[in-house]
């Protein structure tokens, strides 16, 4: 279901890119909305968008919309800054754009020289940017909504010092099986090099866990170390999110409908999410310390993109498995397909969900 929805924006991507690039060279076309932009209030700073999320499908669609929205705004705000002679801002916006994972090759081809020129006009040296994508961009659809990026973000952006070029990167795909009655869906998979150092992943941006219908959506979210996750209350009632999973334990306190709380996850490992008010709610964030990771879909299929060739250990975590499954892989220039990994289904859901002090709660009591 998610797959079918996710394909629709893919078809529209070319249209969006063409429209955005067209507008870049026709300033009059968006002169009206640029009124605020010239004064620094461009809409690109206003993410996340106030779109309702009622289901996992809503969340996926929202992710696509927010990504395209950010792409457009970085493109356009850079152009507006260029036209206003603010080359530093233009360079910052476009460099930020080029650092986004999976940016379309056409955008890259047009914007990269402009970003370099803007940076030169601003009197700086060219920033370190990801290599030019040599193939069609990675799936825009599976990328997340992206957080607001301030004009001063360039200085705080992580350096990208990947040794492998895009041409060296391959894809590992396969299937997870097991997971007991819950099935393998949501399993988190990651690769760690065994023949050298695994690069430290840059924090992901725009990660959201919604509380809706007294459930966590998504139920399982995989992120990289250092990622900030927004917890949002999309219910009409109070919620709380807490975790006793050390060392990533945290507590959001109470927050009402429409409220949100941001938590940064600094250590790798599984984090169980609970609500101190509603004992039936449970979810997971899994933090990986490698850029090569994925989550299995309901059928267990997974795909890890952008993997350099080499020797790896493949790890898999699932909420229903008491142990992490591991196996070694040799990744050649052609990548790997049909990788199969088995996870256990031996871990039961807890009979009693603890409250924030760790005391077990009887589900038939209270609310």
């Amino acid at each position: 279901m998610v797959t079918s929805i996710a394909m629709r924006p893919r078809r529209g991507r070319a249209v969006l890119v063409a429209a955005a690039l067209g507008m870049l060279w026709a300033p009059a076309a968006f002169a009206a909305p640029a009124k605020d932009a010239r004064t620094g209030g461009w809409l690109g700073e206003d993410l996340p968008l106030p779109l309702p999320v009622r289901s996992p499908q809503d969340l996926a669609v929202k992710a696509v919309i927010e990504r395209q929205y950010l792409l457009f705004n970085l493109l356009a705000s850079g152009k507006i800054a260029w036209d206003a002679g603010d080359y530093a801002t233009a360079a910052a916006k476009w460099e930020t754009l080029l650092r986004l994972p999976g940016v379309d090759a056409e955008i890259d081809r047009h914007i990269r020289p402009l970003a370099a020129e803007a940076r030169a006009k601003a009197g700086g040296t060219a920033a370190m940017l990801p290599p030019v994508p040599s193939a069609p961009a990675a799936s825009v659809v599976t990328s997340p909504p992206t957080a607001p990026v301030s004009s001063g973000a360039v200085g705080t952006m992580p350096s990208v010092l990947a040794s492998a070029t895009a041409a060296d990167r391959v894809t590992i795909s396969g299937t997870v099986s097991g997971g007991g009655a819950a099935g393998p869906g949501g399993a988190v998979l990651w690769l760690r090099r065994t023949d050298g150092r695994t690069p430290r992943p840059a924090p992901a941006r725009g990660k959201i866990v919604s509380q809706r219908g007294k459930t966590f959506i998504p139920r399982v979210l995989a992120v990289t170390v250092g990622t900030k996750v927004d917890f949002r209350n999309d219910d009409e009632i109070f919620h709380n999110v807490f975790s006793l999973s050390r060392p990533n334990d945290f507590d959001t306190g109470l927050y009402k409908a429409g409220g949100s709380y941001t938590q940064t996850f600094k250590q790798p490992g599984p984090i169980q999410l609970l609500c101190n008010i509603h004992s039936s709610m449970i979810g997971y964030v899994y933090v990986v310390d490698t850029p090569y990771y994925a989550q299995a879909d309901a059928g267990g299929a997974f795909s890890i993109k952008g993997v350099p060739t080499g020797e790896y250990e493949l790890g898999a975590w699932h909420e229903a498995a008491s142990k992490i499954a591991k196996q070694t892989l040799t990744v050649g220039p052609g990548g790997l397909r049909g990788v199969s990994i088995q996870i256990a289904g031996d871990k039961k859901a807890p009979a009693f969900v603890p409250d924030k002090s760790g005391r077990p709660r009887q589900p038939q009591l209270g609310y």
Partner: protein
Amino acid sequence: MRRRPPVIVIPVVGVAIVLALPVWVAAPTAWAQALPEIVEEESANEPVGYTPADTAAATASPASTLVLTGYVDVGFVNAQGDGTSFAPGDTRLPADYGVDPFATAVNSRGDAASTASGGRFVNGFLPYSAGVGGRPSFLINTINVDVRFTAPTAPVMVFTRLQLVPRAGGDAGNDLDGDGTRVVAEQAFGRITPFESTELALAVGKFDSVFGIEYLENQANLRTGITPSLIARYTTGQSIGAKLFYRLQIAPLWSALSLNAAATTSGTMVTSLQTPHASLTGVPVGSARLGYELNLPRVQVKAGASGLVGPRNDQADADSLQRAWGVDVRVHWFGLAFSGEYLVLDQDRGAGPKRTGLGQFPLPSAFHVEGFYAQLAYGRDVTLGPLRRATVYARGEQRHARFEGFTPVKVRRLTAGLRLDLWDSLALKGEVLMNREVEGAPTVENDVYATSVVWTW
């Protein structure tokens, strides 16, 4: 007299510092140059997360709206003396009025090691008995099955808790010793939460007490330790009726107010003291607890005040009332858990024989009791093989009780123990109960050493 350091030491230390300073300043740079550069890489993989299509699977009890859970509680216990608190030379009658028969508790149910009075007359102030006397014994305390059904299309939950209590003695038709095997429908109720945006729940059936806090952990797998407190007999009984729970969140203060109120057939005493399954007067007993919660990130404070009023349900006379009030507090602070409760209860004199879960007894005495407990526990998560958590705890308590016309009895108890949680399903517990008769009751050897292995499934 202190010796002064040699004068030469001072310049030597000074020179050493001066020489070491450039090395110290340069060291980080040198280290940074020596270590390979840390590579940070944007990931091409940023999945949006996974949510199962089945919304029921997104709850804490996945894949089904019908959930069966339960536990088996097996113990090994040893009570001093003959397992009772009766003294051989004490000829006062009724025998259970002059001691605390509940003192030799051996399990989470509060069963005494023995209630055998040596043939002396007793008058219905007795717990159920494990029937093991003073012999070190293995014991199957409880075999518990919980069945919970959550309706997929309505805000309704149905819950049943059935317990098999295997015992060695007793007579199914007349079990005044309370040591017979029995099957208990401890809870059976339906609950509705009518408003999605309001924390309001209404329940009808047989359910836990609403008085105080000890009922919250009145099962072997939930209770930190093994045995209940000296006042649990008055507050943790189940009864049949209707119950309301309402909670109001006060977000800016990280706080909440709650009301738990019930109208039931027998109030909150345990079954061995009052029968819960039939109203002998036709008038319900009202009970309620007003609670306050402070839920800070690392500190949780809960306090409450409880009250109860209604006919004592061991009498057919609706004018023989029971009244109780109590206060409670719980504080959880960085792994430390403190809980305490204070209770005062009065029962009017009755008009006829007394009818309890153990049978019928002739004297409907008026009764007054006040008591308290305070427990401190420290738990720490551990990763050591199968060991997941270790908790040490200690509880101090006192009970002062008086039947009208008889000598008041004051007892104290100190309980200390250790709980180890293994994997996610096994708890090993061991504790010692040191009972002391302070006033009114003969001093007897009635300390208890209890262990418990609880398998939760």
